[in-house]
Amino acid sequence: MSQNPSAGTSELRNAEPDNQEPKNQELENREPENREPENREPRTPNSERRTQSPPLLASALRIFDLSLGQMLWSRRSVFLALLLGGPVVIALVLRIVSTMYAAGFHINGAQAVGSSIFGMMIWLLYIRFIVPVLGVFYGTALIADEVDDKTITYLFTRPIPRSAVLLGKYLAYLASTILLVLPSVMLLYFLVVPIGGSSIGEAFPSLLADFGMLIVGLASYGAVFALVGTRLKRPLVVGLVYAFGWEPAVLMFPGYLKRLTVAYYLQALVTHEMPQDSAVSMVLQLFHEVPTVFTSLVCLGAIIAVTLWSAGRAVEQREYVLEQ
């Protein structure tokens, strides 16, 4: 310790570590008027809680309660709700056009019925575009938003594990995005399925399967991008490159690399029959190597568990320095 400041007063005790002499007698004898008695027993009715370890899931659910409203009414949600209006507008246009042209839609000569068009839209617009976009924009921001808003301090100075903050926010993301996506899909279903004479009632089980697939997709992409958000710099760029660069690229080639994508496992969950001999079916042929539903669900579950665990570890260990 080279610095040795001169306090210029006998009553000030130099606190440099090299000068740890006994305290000045005057200071030693001076008891601040507000001094707490030693060995004071905690006086609060909730004192028994003070020795308990905070449970992860219970803490996460409380963070979920706190975050859901914030997330649902954020500017990001408004923007993404507009994005989800896109497929509905397309469906509306298709429906109007179909009523004007009684012959229906033909793709390369084959007639496309409503349920097939619905299936294509679910795969191409939702699974391959909207769900990754939602995952990237929400998933990478689970902790970053609180850091940017400087509200993370309130959560990290509470008796809960930091990983519970991430988990609670992830659950809030999942609930928010499901609440955003499902109305859009429902509208799409009622607008598109009747085209070409498909029955709404008959196609209903596949709608439920599509809901399941979308929820699994949101959960998987959200977990992957939560990891990206907690571990990497520029998570938004990395997330977008992963979803719209890496995944489409490796899915086009044979080999094992495609197993490192979420989309590879999600395609096994597609239930719809697609129109044949069409440009779309040619695109879908690229995904001809499809795992079983069971394998997909197990792998997606493992992806969610591993990425969330790793993201939680990152949050536990990382120091968040807020900009002043």
Binding site: M1, Q3, N4, P5, S6, A7, G8, T9, E11, L12, R13, N14, A15, E16, P17, Q20, E26, L27, R30, E31, P32, E33, N34, R35, E36, P37, E38, R40, P42, R43, T44, N46, R49, R50, T51, Q52, S53, P54, S59, R62, I63, D65, L66, G69, Q70, W73, D149, K150, T151, T153, Y154, L155, F156, T157, R158, P159, I160, E316, E319, V321
Partner: protein, 307 residues
């Protein structure tokens, strides 16, 4: 006597920048002021004490146990951070309740604890208003309510009086002293000696990442009195307020800015007392915010570190 905060050769650096340098200090129970100019290392020290940062070297114990990676300790600590950040769409009561629930309280218990804390900071009338509509003083008080709602043993307040109007400032100082008398330990940071002095005589003096001294405040305030003190006041009627100040012999200089008057005084104590009286009387309209730059303290620190 058991120290509430014990640092042992504690250092923290951010890359090449040193935030805190080899600090060893034991903070006794009671009210302690952490005093230093902006950039002195106060915030780094506060973040280490509250477990937001991990020591680069050395150790820090709070209430006898290491704080980093020990969330259970937050049952015993309440922290009021410096930043003016909230969930703006929530009401004060909703926000404090939600945070107290994170301490393990049930819904009804948390709501009752939040109500009690809001009552303690005298904000009951505004409890059901959105935080976004709060004044600066109300925002500071709701921050304090969330810190004390779970009845912690140790309250850590980072610049709690920052930007408050004179009446809110007086009320807050009174509350802090009451909490101290009620047996709580408090660590309060500030860059304004007069704030600290009005709460406690026990201070830690920090500058350039080191604890320079700890002890009784009166010797330091004599040094500070040798240097003029600058006060920045935002008010409704700054011109009439300025005329009022000009009649005061202790006012050394005065400058008008847009919606504010900047005063240099030789006797800060008397000036603050007069300002509080003026705010209470409402004679010259509302006084919204009183701040003080750290130039005053910086001059004293330069004197203190002079060999």
């Amino acid at each position: 006597m058991t120290a509430i905060v014990a640092a042992d050769h504690l250092s923290k650096w951010y890359g090449q920048v040193i935030g805190l340098n080899d600090v060893s200090v034991a903070v006794p129970p009671g009210i302690t002021g952490l005093l230093g100019p902006n950039g002195a290392g106060k915030s780094t020290f506060m973040k280490l004490i509250t477990g937001q940062l991990k020591p680069s070297k050395g150790s820090i114990h709070v209430l006898g146990v290491p704080i980093w990676g020990n969330p259970a300790l937050y049952h015993r600590i309440g922290f009021c951070p410096e930043q003016d950040s909230f969930y703006e769409r929530m009401t004060g009561h909703e926000w404090v309740t939600a945070l107290v629930r994170l301490n393990g309280a049930g819904d009804q218990e948390a709501a009752a604890m939040a109500s009690r804390a809001i009552e303690m900071v005298e904000l009951t009338d505004a409890a059901n208003k959105k935080i976004g509509a709060y004044s600066k003083g109300m925002r500071q008080r709701i921050k304090m309510a969330q810190a004390l709602a779970h009845d912690p043993e140790l309250l850590i307040l980072d610049e709690p009086l920052s930007g408050m109007d004179p009446l809110a400032r007086r009320r807050t100082i009174r509350m802090i002293k009451e909490w101290g008398r009620a047996g709580k330990s408090l660590l309060v940071s500030s860059h304004i000696l007069h704030e600290i002095e009005s709460m406690t005589a026990n201070i830690l003096l920090i500058n350039q990442g080191r604890i320079l001294a700890e002890g009784n405040v009166h010797q330091i305030r004599d040094l500070i009195d040798e240097h003029p003190h600058t006060v920045h006041i935002k008010a409704d009627h700054v011109r009439t307020l300025a005329r009022e100040f000009l009649a005061d012999d202790d006012v050394l200089s005065l400058r008008l800015e847009e919606g504010a008057v900047v005063v240099q005084t030789a006797r800060p104590d008397a000036f603050y007392a007069r300002l509080t009286d003026l705010a209470a009387s409402g004679e010259h309209g509302a006084i919204h915010e009183v701040t003080s730059p750290d130039d005053n303290l910086q001059a004293v620190f330069q004197y203190l570190v002079k060999s």
